[in-house]
């Protein structure tokens, strides 16, 4: 019996949200789950908010997660995490790359951009655990800021019932071979960070 798990991935166009949700969905399918995933992109390919709904389970009907229904919120940008917070189930888990990508409304129109602590606190109103992860920084240390998307998947993988091999196949299947090594390293770094983080949270 595969437990129903709903995950929302979000971020800014160009960050690799869709690619990450494709990897996640493939891994889940090879683990024997029924899978539905759907993306909401704004009109522009870059710079707008992007969300991707991934639902896995024995049998999935709606491709969209209902508000208050997501078990996991995985955000590649902290403002977008708050924007999508209402999708999170009470007692769900939020995993957020601390990275800041302030929109033009902040730089030009003077909107306030929330701090890491404010985001943590705000998500904490709903989630049982909020992991604010310096994923982009960690990815930079691995030599490529863009691998933060796979690094965060590694973090998420610790919470899910899928074998490592299924994840690795998913990564290999969706990325060109020259990027395999650095992404596998990023995935492992994410796994490590999650094990550390869960210990601290006492989960």
């Amino acid at each position: 019996m595969h437990t129903q798990t709903d995950m929302l991935l979000t971020g800014v166009g160009g960050q690799g949200v869709i690619m990450a949700s494709d990897i996640l969905s493939s891994a889940a399918m090879s683990a024997g789950y029924d899978v539905k995933k759907t993306d909401s992109l704004g009109m522009a390919q870059r710079g707008g908010s992007v969300t991707s709904h991934v639902r896995i389970g024995e049998k999935v009907f709606s491709p969209l997660i209902a508000p208050g229904g997501a078990d996991f919120l995985l955000s590649y940008e902290r403002l977008e995490a708050v924007r999508s917070a209402a999708i999170l189930k009470r007692g769900g888990v939020a995993i957020v790359d601390c990275a800041a990508v302030p929109p033009l409304s902040v730089t030009v129109s003077g909107y306030y951009y929330p701090s890491i602590d404010e985001v943590r606190e705000s998500l904490g109103d709903i989630a049982r655990a909020v992991y604010m992860l310096p994923a982009t920084e960690m990815a930079n240390e691995l030599g490529n800021p863009r691998v933060s998307s796979v690094l965060c998947l590694g973090f998420l993988s610790v919470f899910l019932d899928m074998a490592e091999q299924q994840w690795l196949d998913g990564i290999r299947g969706h990325l060109p071979s020259r990027l395999h090594d650095v992404n596998l390293a990023a995935f492992n770094a994410g796994v490590e960070a999650a094990r550390e983080g869960r210990k601290e949270e006492g989960e």
Partner: protein, 629 residues
């Protein structure tokens, strides 16, 4: 073999396995990937047609030759193709002709959310609607068989959540053996629709749709799921998935054949349940037909007629109808404590070749006096000197602040024609229209010819980024690349403009603000129709990335506007002024420029470098510079 496929991928694979030999389309979200996937099959002829009407008629031509053909488009594309669609319904086919039409409830990337199911009824064409990728794959072969057996085009209607959602598909087919070689069978009574031959076709169409209704009574993909007989739900498409989740115990009739409806099946289902509810997105299409059958049914009283549905909306409707109990407060949607978040609308990319024109139009549009309604333009300014009518493409994003550069966006081609109409009505302002290269070829050319013929004074700006950018960089006749990414003849837009009689045709670069402004000013001032082709490649498409520029923090600061402030005041509020900074570079709305502590900063990994340099041109302090190697 199990595959995770989007609805569009599943449709393409299903069509391929059904033996499609000709596939045509014009790109349009959410339908674009259908043709992109068809183009990957070596043994399928696939083309980006100049517009949906052309695509429809090319598909019909192929079907008349006896091969299987598929035409795909977004919902508003069928408006453009409607003439050909009705024509195809009239003359019928030989090889199967399937018209895939992808609606966009919720307008994720569209200007309206029309419900194209009405087109099936309007044109008397059978319609099938998949509710997931598996069904999308499985129904394609049936759609082609039906088309050939019934001598009619078949419409397959999807929505964004079907076309773009991925789900697991058991791929059990392979490429069908192809039919006899293409040929033309002369039959003027079938193909030459002069009134004498057309009149007998109408009763044939009526008789065909009655026969189809009978065939659909036994259509294997329609499905009854018996549950609790108290509540019976009739649904189709993605709405069925939402309803299944909201009413886990109810009885269901899932319809794949949504026109004509299988009325006996519906009657039998309705007779088996106490309360009947239709859950459908957008219009009460199924509901109205069932009501006209004299069956008591509810639908739009509880399920909204506007916007995209989801389980939450369907559930709230069901609660209002008393069909499911009110959810407890515990389960109510949680709200985060942070509110009034900064919006992040889609933007022109850093290095976008449309930005220079947008900036110049914005400057030319707004004069120094008067006032405009709040939220309709930049706060500091006012009177409009020009009206800028836009078309549909990335450049429509010029409407957002800080650019506020355009005044209309209605449908494909309506940039040039609206400008002409405004001018002929006698507005005081000058009129300027903007449209893209692909859009110009799609629907702009007749409007331009009309301008020449009817002595317009207006200016047409064609933003030529050498691709169909908004839908994901497809080729078009101006690009020299075919749908299969092979070399193709290039239609020269400037030559087209000259050829239809425009004398003042200018071709300029996209990143020289002075040249753009001078050219537009001169064209607007002259008394004849003029065309300005602004050429610059789509940075995203060409993956242009040079050494990023940077802001010299010592030079960046209070701009020349200090000259207009009395010095006593300036000194008194020096601190405040320096906090405000100059901000001139923010007026181009480049996502690579941020502003903090009274100074501008450039985000290195977003800036494309010297090939753009618009910010360098507008910085009054010459503070933006190249990073020395």
């Amino acid at each position: 073999m199990k595959q995770l496929l989007s609805g569009n991928e599943a449709i393409a694979l299903g069509a391929y396995h059904a033996g499609v030999q000709v596939a045509t389309a014009y790109p349009g979200t959410p339908s674009t990937e259908i043709l992109e996937n068809m183009a990957r099959f070596d043994d399928v002829y696939a083309e980006w047609s100049t517009n949906e009407k052309v695509a429809m008629e090319v598909g019909l031509g192929a079907a008349i030759a006896g091969v299987r053909a598929m035409v795909s488009m977004k919902h508003v594309g069928l408006n453009v193709a409607a003439d050909g669609f009705f024509g195809a319904a009239n003359v019928g086919v030989r090889g199967g002709l399937v018209v895939v039409c992808a609606d966009d409830p919720g307008m994720h990337s569209s200007q309206n959310e029309q419900d194209n199911r009405h087109y099936a009824r309007f044109a008397k064409v059978p319609m099938l609607e998949p509710s997931d990728s598996q069904e999308a794959y499985s129904l394609m072969e049936r759609a082609f068989n039906l088309s050939e057996e019934m001598d009619t085009p078949v419409m397959v209607r999807t929505t964004t959540r079907i076309s773009h959602a991925k789900s697991v598909v058991e791929v059990d087919g392979e490429r069908a053996e192809l039919g006899p070689p293409p040929s033309f069978v002369h039959s003027p009574t079938k193909y030459v629709m002069v009134p004498t031959y057309a009149r007998p076709r109408h009763p044939l169409a009526e008789e065909r749709i009655s026969r189809l209704a009978k065939v659909f009574e036994e259509f294997p993909l329609n499905e009854i799921v018996w549950g609790d007989r108290k509540l019976g739900i009739i649904s189709a498409g993605v709405a069925y998935q939402y309803a299944r989740e909201v009413f886990p115990r109810a009885s269901f009739l899932k319809l794949v054949t949504t026109y004509p409806l299988p009325q006996e099946l519906i009657r039998a289902f309705a007779a088996g349940v106490e309360t009947l509810l239709v859950v459908e997105e957008l219009d009460p299409f199924i509901e109205d037909i069932i009501k006209s059958m004299g069956i008591a049914v509810q639908g739009k009283a509880f399920v909204p007629i506007t916007g995209e549905l989801n389980t939450d909306i369907v559930r709230r409707g069901a609660v209002a109808a008393g069909l499911v109990p009110q959810a407890s407060t515990e389960a109510a949607t949680p709200t985060p404590s942070l509110q009034d978040l900064p919006p992040r609308p889609p933007l022109l990319c850093p290095g976008c070749p449309h930005r220079g024109v947008a900036y110049v139009l914005s400057r030319l549009k707004f004069g120094p006096k008067g006032s405009i309604p709040k939220g309709e333009g930049p706060a500091k300014t006012a009177r409009q000197w020009h009206i800028v009518t836009s078309d549909i493409g990335c450049y429509t994003l010029m409407v957002y602040p800080p650019l506020w550069a355009i005044d209309s966006c209605v449908c494909m081609g309506a940039s040039i024609t609206l400008a002409h109409g405004l001018e002929k009505a006698g507005v005081a302002e000058n009129t300027v229209s903007v449209l893209g290269d692909s859009t110009f070829i799609h629907a702009g050319i007749p409007g331009l010819i009309n301008m020449v013929y009817n002595r317009s004074h207006s200016t047409v700006i064609i933003l030529d980024n050498q691709t169909t950018a908004m839908t994901g960089h497809q080729g078009h006749p101006g690009t020299g690349r075919s749908a299969k990414n092979e070399e193709a003849p290039v239609v020269d837009i400037a030559e087209v403009a000259r050829g239809v009689g425009v004398k003042d045709v200018n071709v300029i670069g996209a990143f020289n603000l002075k040249e753009i402004e001078e050219t537009i000013r001169r064209c607007v001032d002259n008394d004849e129709p003029s065309v300005v082709i602004v050429r610059g490649p789509c940075t995203l498409h060409e993956r242009i990335k040079g050494t990023p520029l940077r802001v010299n923090q010592e030079l960046c600061g209070l701009g020349p506007s200090s000259a207009s402030i009395p010095s006593a005041i300036w000194y008194r509020f020096k601190g405040w002024f320096s906090e405000q900074g100059c901000r001139a570079c923010l007026d181009i709305g480049c996502p690579a420029i941020t502003f903090e502590g009274g100074k501008a900063h450039i985000i290195a990994d977003q800036c494309i470098g010297e090939s753009c340099s618009l910010c360098v041109q507008i910085c009054p302090r010459e503070a933006i510079e190249k990073v020395p190697d």
